[in-house]
């Protein structure tokens, strides 16, 4: 009897020891922050993770930049999220594009902050010190990039410069725009000083010092823009056109970029990362395909091609290039001449079904990035990069800075604009003014998502937009008021910690 008790007692104790150990479990199927950041390879993957949130950039540029502007007008078949953006609804706080971009950029900022923190604590695990410095500089660039996107779309922002816990973040209110600029500029200056000028092989597409300088130039140009009488917009009327010009000059003189002589080749699937490109969002088929070519395209276009699964999954809406923009191409080219950018960027007629004989000519749309022959497996698998900034942009921004008061001559401005016009196959002009320059930018950068920011930067967002609404007689679009130069903060952000963030004026 005693023996039995004794034996079972021992067995029980043995079992307990073994079982207690089982209470500490390590996940068999995922890495943990405790066993990561141990070597160069881990950090390489962590930095790649910091890039990954760039993938939403093109969609935001198109929906919140292109669709918002006078380039595109949407006729929809129902209750779609983009309608409010296009119509200037004051109720956009739950609009998915507006919510996603906010969340996405802040997630990108968190990821970069995580790497920056880990570089401090675990950085010595990267033996190659120059690589360690580059990783840090890439993260500074990315953080500035995400913040600059947010600043232009939403105005004031909470400043977070390390990976903080939710309660810590809940104590940080939105900072003034000028303070956010301070962070952006210091990050970009660090990146410009520490990033390499170019990459080769499997590193092509990472941020270069030239990318940092280009964005920095744009930051100065944007900050110099008008305030619209607001304190929360991206423009602070800071008059830093010379600072902007200095960045552009550096790129033009030392960057080794080339003004492409053939407009379509800049966007060619077989000519990615070409000499025009300062920075682009990278996509390849299968593992990292892009979905932006499918975004503002009517579903019937794909039906006509006999393709399914390539539409944007938003029903049968049409995303028409505005009459105003079509006229702009026509008028600037003059009679009998066609702007090559028009031909390349706009689909003027297409068949709506595979059996149709009469093409749809009333719904022209932007097709710049579409090459059906080289498509991926689905709407989200396009193997084509989206260009964020290209050399032509740098040249035109320098001209813009000059027209706004930076040192330089009218003849330089005219020469740049005429370079662009000549490439497009249309006649040259002289005595280029800001409105002429901006209209040229509109044609040059159609479908690249720049138009809305251009309008805001040059103080045209209210006047030009309202004039367009009147001239194109679009009843669904509300009159633009200055408050609409930025978007509202997503409702969830306001509700999560009541009183911490105040909603942008003009929205509810």
């Amino acid at each position: 009897m005693k023996k039995v008790l004794y034996t079972s007692g021992c067995l029980a104790l043995l079992a307990l020891g073994a079982c207690n150990k089982d209470l500490t479990q390590v996940p068999p199927s995922s890495t943990t922050t405790a066993n990561f950041y141990g070597n160069t390879n881990d950090f390489t993957q962590a930095v790649t993770g910091a890039y990954s949130k760039l993938r939403n950039y093109p969609d935001a540029a198109l929906w919140m930049g292109e669709v918002r502007s006078d380039n595109v007008v949407i006729a929809t078949d129902g209750n779609r999220d983009f309608q409010g953006i296009n119509d200037f609804s004051p109720n956009l706080t739950n609009t998915s594009f507006v919510v996603t971009e906010w969340d996405n950029d802040f997630s990108g900022i968190f990821n970069t902050n995580t790497v920056l923190d880990k570089l401090v604590t675990n950085g010595t695990n990267i033996a190659d010190t120059s690589l360690r410095r580059r990783f840090g500089a890439e993260c500074h660039f990315l953080r500035a990039f995400y913040y600059f996107n947010l600043l232009r779309f939403y105005g004031k922002l909470p400043i977070v410069t390390s990976a903080l816990t939710p309660p810590q973040v809940a104590a940080i209110p939105r900072s003034e725009v000028k303070d956010v600029y301070t962070l952006i500029i210091s990050d970009l200056q660090y990146a410009a000083a520490n990033l390499p000028g170019a990459y080769s092989g499997a590193d092509v597409g990472r941020a270069t010092s030239w990318a940092a300088k280009g964005v920095l130039g744009l930051v100065y140009l944007t900050r110099s823009g008008p305030t619209y009488g607001l304190t929360s917009g991206p423009g602070l009327a800071s008059g830093e056109y010379d600072l902007a010009r200095a960045q552009f000059d550096d790129i033009i003189n030392n960057g080794g970029f080339v003004f492409s002589t053939d407009y379509p080749s800049i966007f060619s699937y077989t000519n990615e990362n070409n000499k025009e490109v300062l920075f682009d969002i990278q996509y390849i088929s299968t593992t990292n395909g892009g979905d932006f070519p499918s975004q503002i395209v009517p579903a019937s276009y794909w039906t006509g091609l006999g393709l399914s699964g390539y539409d944007n999954a938003y029903g049968t809406s049409s995303y028409n290039v505005t009459k105003n923009l079509l006229a702009s191409f026509k008028n600037s080219a003059g009679p009998g001449v066609t702007d090559k950018r028009d031909t390349f960027s706009i689909k003027h007629a297409f068949l709506q079904t595979t059996t149709a004989t009469v093409p749809d000519t009333i719904n022209p749309f932007e097709k710049k990035y579409i090459n059906p022959a080289l498509r991926g497996a689905s709407r989200s698998d396009w193997p084509i990069n989206f260009i964020v900034m290209r050399y032509t942009d740098v040249l035109l921004m320098k001209a813009e800075a000059i027209l706004r008061g930076a040192s330089g001559t009218q003849s330089y401005v005219d020469s740049v604009v005429n370079k662009v016009r000549t490439r497009a196959g249309i006649a040259t002009v002289s005595n280029v003014t800001i409105p002429m320059l901006m209209e040229e930018r509109r044609r040059e950068f159609i479908a690249e998502g720049l138009r809305w920011n251009d309008l805001v930067r040059e103080g045209m967002a209210v006047t030009t937009m309202n004039a367009w609404i009147a001239s194109d007689t679009i009843p669904t679009i509300r009159a633009i008021i200055p408050q609409y130069i930025i978007y509202p903060v997503p409702e969830a952000e306001i509700l999560t910690k009541p009183g911490l963030y105040t909603q942008n004026d003009g929205y509810y």
């Binding site: 307990l16 068999p28 990954s52 903080l164």
Partner: protein, 1068 residues
């Protein structure tokens, strides 16, 4: 094979032992029913203190041999009768009158880690009369429990065969941690499996259990009863005991039934003609709105000119199909999609069991086969199950046994439930197709009918897809019990539960909706997947029991033990990367490669968790009058942080049997009266593994032409994560009056769940939108009343009633750090419709309220808030803040998803050889927001608007301002989540009507000890006000789209089945 041979040898041995008999004097006798005087067959008659036992024959007669007649005592018992011990006193012939068991009172009930006389139970627990299962055709245990127990709510979320139902005890006490109880089968606590976020179950613990194998079901409702199961008992505990062999002759019973199912309710949709009327109106409205020169009376030729459409072509938005108005609508076929996809479906079920035993060995074997065709095309369920329970007294002191329950099931579950799945298509499919395509509209080479919403025919889809689950499950328990001294025993058990599930899915390109690929690259648009999991759970439990009665007054029962549980799950998934080479072979070896040479993508994952526990309980009774019980459990789970993984779960309860007091002696009509009070704390760790550990997730990118793997933190680390705990206070009263004719149980309770697992919304600047924390408090409080009545009890006619009602009030007490309300959004565009707010029931609805239709006067009145572009005939909304704008601030609180009260009522009648039972249940006080309703009933959805409610719409010619809906085809932007699609979820249903006839009076061959035939109707009659779907309890889609706030809702549900069944029970 060798194992099988071994088993057979073992069994043979048992039988041999069972047959051994002693020599001596013969006692002959008869056992009769005290009331009817008729012989009772199958009664076990055992010579006390000996191994000798026998059973009565068909007439109730027995004969048994005893070594001596003088001191012999016979122990006589049968299910349903009170056990008797008869002193033989030298007689060689005797008649024993057995009394029908006084219902409930003297039962021994199963409690956690033991049994207890029902008299002495002081916690709140409710049991389910399992005899009712045996008499009815029940495919699942949970189905049988519907409406039977107060406070135990079983939802029939779907009519898809083979699917588990959700079971909630006393209201939901957790926001994200699941509300499913712990199931314990024959002492084996199964790993808790939560309802999926969409309302389904991947491995419901009740799957594969043959209802007829069950001896008893107990639900431990309050923490005092359940706390012995500690950390897993916060949502209640369901104890299931399977049948064991009884001492006596082998008893064989056979049950067989079969019948037909059909859909209990179809969705009310527009008929083809009604749809044409609506569509014509829509086209005309769009036409004249779009073109200033247009007139409604323009024919199609004129419309072509106005719209610039080519000859022979149609601009379908602005033009009607000419054939709609032609007699006989040539070239078109009108279709009732529901009639085409639902079918009467046969089912059949066979069960055989054998049980018996002697003093040394008792056994129970059973086998069952169920084949249930689904009412929806291509759905069905087959289950093969077996069970062996064997217990052996190896020596005087040592008892051992095993339970073995293997099963295999095949479940064909078409991809039919949820958003944009086939049932939703069935409900909103245009009821017209081109005659040339017929039911294959949109499939193969057939285009979709031009005016139709672009869907592939659901009939073609269901017929050309495979979605098949195969599940093998084995439950195994082995135990030994050693008597160490009088009243002291030790028990140890090893339990193992393994589920293996495979899932095959194949969607032929015939129904993939890609005509071009179907014709030009056959197979490319086909897709397939093969996935599955293996789940293993091993549990070891060791307990020591001690019972003692002191001076015949003080009874003490004590138990102490430890338990260890380890669960391991590994899952895999494989799917096509680029379609198939052709349609002839649908296994993945026929998948076609991508440009990169990839044919199949797949991965595997594994997860583990361990639970370690110590527990003890002491129960004390003074003369059965004063009862006290206390228990404590310490649990540690690997799911929590190293410093927070241990939790302590104590409980206390007391009972006072008032009826045993002297002052009650004269109150004759009260047979038993007991007051109970209890408090206990239980826990929940139901959040999934590794939540406390900060893990990384893939976040990929590419550089140049090279894919780059990226890693980012996947969530906020929660190192202090710990148990959700619930404190329950319960006060109860049990009464038996009028000689057991009335049995009543009354409970009032308050359950406060604290430290809830909550994905608290966080600011995006933290990198995440939510973080898992132990924050928040939810309270459930309520009343429960259970009543058993026997209004009539005569020889030839008996009538008994089982009634129960439960009221539960659910309320959020605390949230977050500063108590800010949480607005829970859906996965779809619109204002957040669900609200978690202190003081309100969980997930209260916060919606914009529709309030009739805008009149011309409203349009003219600037004080009436309108949406931009709204005109006469559109919906009028309530402007709560009166600022003239309809927006999120105008949301009103419009009800709670959980019912406030639930009830069940069962009437059983027995007249001579006939028996009749009628089961009803229902609920009140809840509402359901239907996403399916919104999808089929929305002025902006154009031709997809098929809900029958649009029959009575407002039109320019029929200006009915009292119509349920306004104008069709509206241009204004609807403020999504309005009260238009909120429905009362009140319903009541006659769940089952069974009429049986006992054949014993007809069959007198002597072979059978019992024979009965019956017919049964299930779900045949119900009443509800739900127009947004077919079942007010439907759950099939996680409408929040987030696992942080699992909100199963209705986006196209499989209707419940109504079935008619005929069956027979035989025992011999």
């Amino acid at each position: 094979m060798r194992k099988l041979a071994c088993l057979i040898t073992l069994f043979t041995l048992f039988f041999t032992v069972a047959r051994s008999q002693d020599q001596g004097k013969v006692i002959k006798g008869k056992v009769v029913d005290e009331t009817t005087g008729k012989g009772i067959p199958g009664v076990s008659v055992i010579l006390k203190g000996n191994t000798t036992g026998t059973q009565t024959n068909n007439d109730g007669a027995f004969s048994i041999t005893a070594p001596s007649l003088a001191n012999a005592q016979l122990e006589i018992g049968s299910v349903g009768y009170e056990r008797q011990v008869v002193d033989v006193k030298g007689r060689t012939e005797l008649t024993v009158r057995l009394k029908l068991e006084a219902k409930g009172l003297e039962d021994v009930v199963v409690i956690g880690y033991g049994t207890q006389s029902r008299r002495n139970v002081s916690g709140a627990q409710t049991s389910f009369d399992v005899k009712t299962i045996e008499e009815k055709p029940i495919a699942r245990v949970d189905q049988a429990m519907i409406g039977q127990m107060p406070g135990v709510v079983i939802k029939q979320q779907t009519g898809m065969p083979g699917q588990g139902f959700s079971l909630t005890v006393r209201g939901p006490g957790s926001i994200a941690g699941g509300t499913e109880p712990l199931y314990v089968i024959d002492g084996f606590p199964l790993d808790v499996v939560s309802q999926g976020t969409n309302g389904s179950f991947t491995a419901n613990p009740l799957n594969n259990i043959n209802p007829n194998d069950i001896e008893s079901i107990q639900v431990l409702k309050d923490a005092a009863a359940a706390a012995i199961y500690g950390s897993r008992a916060a949502n209640g505990v369901v104890l299931i005991t399977t049948k064991r062999g009884q001492i006596g002759k082998t008893k064989i019973s056979v049950n067989a039934y079969g019948g037909t199912s059909s859909v209990a309710k179809k969705m009310d949709v527009l008929s083809p003609q009604e749809w044409i009327d609506m569509s014509t109106e829509l086209d005309n409205y769009k036409y004249i709105t779009k073109y200033p020169t247009a007139s409604v009376n323009d024919n199609n030729a004129q419309r072509r000119i106005v719209t610039g459409t080519a000859a022979g072509a149609y601009s379908v938005q602005y033009m009607n199909d000419d054939r709609w108005t032609q007699p006989g609508h040539p070239g078109l076929r009108y279709v009732n999609w529901q009639d085409e996809a639902f079918r009467p479906a046969p089912f059949q079920n066979y069960e055989v069991s054998a049980s018996g035993g002697n003093e040394n060995v008792r056994y129970f074997f059973s086998g069952a086969y169920l084949d249930q065709k689904g009412v929806l095309l291509n759905s069905g369920y087959k289950n093969y199950s077996a069970r062996a329970n064997i217990e052996v007294n190896a020596s005087k002191r040592f008892k051992m046994g095993f339970n073995l329950a293997p099963s295999y099931a095949e479940t064909a579950t078409p991809l039919a439930e949820g958003k944009d799945a086939q049932l939703m298509h069935l409900f909103n499919m245009t009821p017209i197709v081109e005659d040339s395509a017929g039911l294959l509209s949109g499939a193969g080479k057939n285009a979709v009918y031009q005016w139709a919403s672009s869907s592939v025919s659901p009939v073609a889809y269901l017929n050309n897809t495979i979605s098949l689950y195969k599940t093998t499950r084995i439950l195994y328990s082995m135990y030994g019990e050693l008597t160490l001294a009088k009243g002291l025993s030790a028990r140890s058990s090893i339990n193992y539960d393994e589920s293996n599930q495979t899932y095959k899915r194949y969607i032929s390109d015939f129904v993939a909706g890609n005509i071009s690929n179907y014709l030009n690259i056959p197979g490319r648009s086909s897709s397939g997947a093969y996935s599955g999991f293996k789940k293993q759970n091993i549990v070891n439990e060791n307990t020591i029991n001690y019972n003692i009665t002191l001076k015949e007054k003080h009874t003490i029962t004590a138990i102490a033990g430890m338990s260890y549980s380890f669960a391991h799950t590994e899952s895999y998934t494989l799917s096509t990367a680029n379609g198939f080479n052709n349609d002839a072979v649908n296994t993945l070896n026929n998948a076609s490669p991508t440009a990169a040479g990839v044919t199949v993508t797949g991965n595997t994952t594994e997860t583990n968790n361990a639970l370690m526990s110590y527990f003890a309980r002491v129960q004390y009774s003074y003369l059965g009058k004063y009862l006290l019980s206390g228990s404590i459990r310490r649990d540690a789970s690997s799911r929590f942080g190293i410093d927070s993984r241990w939790g302590t779960f104590p409980s206390l309860s007391a009972g006072w049997r008032i009826s045993d007091e002297n002052f009650m002696k004269n109150v004759r009509f009260v047979s038993d009266l007991k007051l109970r009070a209890s408090w206990g704390r239980a826990g929940s760790s139901n959040i999934g593994d590794y939540q406390a550990i900060p893990t990384l997730a893939n976040a990929n990118y590419s550089f140049g032409t090279t894919a780059a793997n990226g890693e980012v933190p996947s969530g906020v680390a929660s190192p202090n994560l710990h148990w959700e705990t619930s404190n329950t206070y319960d006060l109860g009263l049990d009464a038996t009056v009028l000689k057991n004719r009335i049995n009543m149980t009354f409970d009032v309770y308050r359950k406060v769940s604290t430290d809830l697992f909550l994905q608290l919304p966080t600011l995006a600047a933290s990198g995440f939108l939510s973080a898992l924390q132990n924050i928040g408090q939810v309270q459930n409080q309520g009343l429960e009343l259970g009543l058993n009545l026997v209004p009539v009890m005569t020889k030839s006619f008996q009538w008994s009633i089982n009634a129960n009602v439960a009221f539960n009030q659910n309320k959020v007490l605390k949230l977050g750090i500063d108590g800010a309300p949480i607005n829970v959004s859906t996965a779809y565009t619109g204002n957040p419709p669900f609200l978690l707010q202190v003081g309100l029931p969980m997930y209260s609805y916060s919606l914009i309220k529709s309030n009739g239709i805008l009149t011309a006067a409203d349009i003219a009145d600037p004080k009436v808030a309108k949406l931009p572009l709204e005109t006469v005939g559109d919906t009028k909304y309530v402007d709560k803040d009166g600022n003239g704008i309809i927006d999120a601030n105008d949301r009103l609180l419009l009800g709670q998803p959980n019912p406030k009260s639930t009830w069940g009522l069962t009437n059983n009648f027995r007249y001579k050889a006939f028996d009749l039972s009628i089961q009803m249940y229902g609920q009140e006080g809840g509402v359901i927001y239907s996403f399916l309703g919104r999808a089929t009933d929305n002025p902006a959805n154009g031709r997809n608007t098929t809900n029958g409610i649009w029959r009575d719409r407002w039109t320019a010619t029929n200006q009915n301002y009292n119509a349920p809906r306004g104008k069709i085809g509206e241009a204004y932007t609807i403020p999504l989540f309005t009260s238009d699609w909120l429905y009362s979820s009140n319903f009541f249903r006659i769940q089952n009507i069974t009429l049986g006839y006992n054949l014993k009076s007809i069959i007198s061959s002597g072979i059978f000890s019992g024979a009965r035939i019956y017919a049964s109707l299930q779900n045949y009659f119900d009443w509800d006000k739900y127009k947004g779907g077919v079942n007010p309890e439907a759950e099939n889609t996680n409408v929040s789209g987030s696992s942080a706030y699992p909100l199963p809702g209705d986006y196209g549900a499989m209707p419940l089945n109504k079935t008619i069944t005929f069956g027979v029970n035989f025992s011999f």
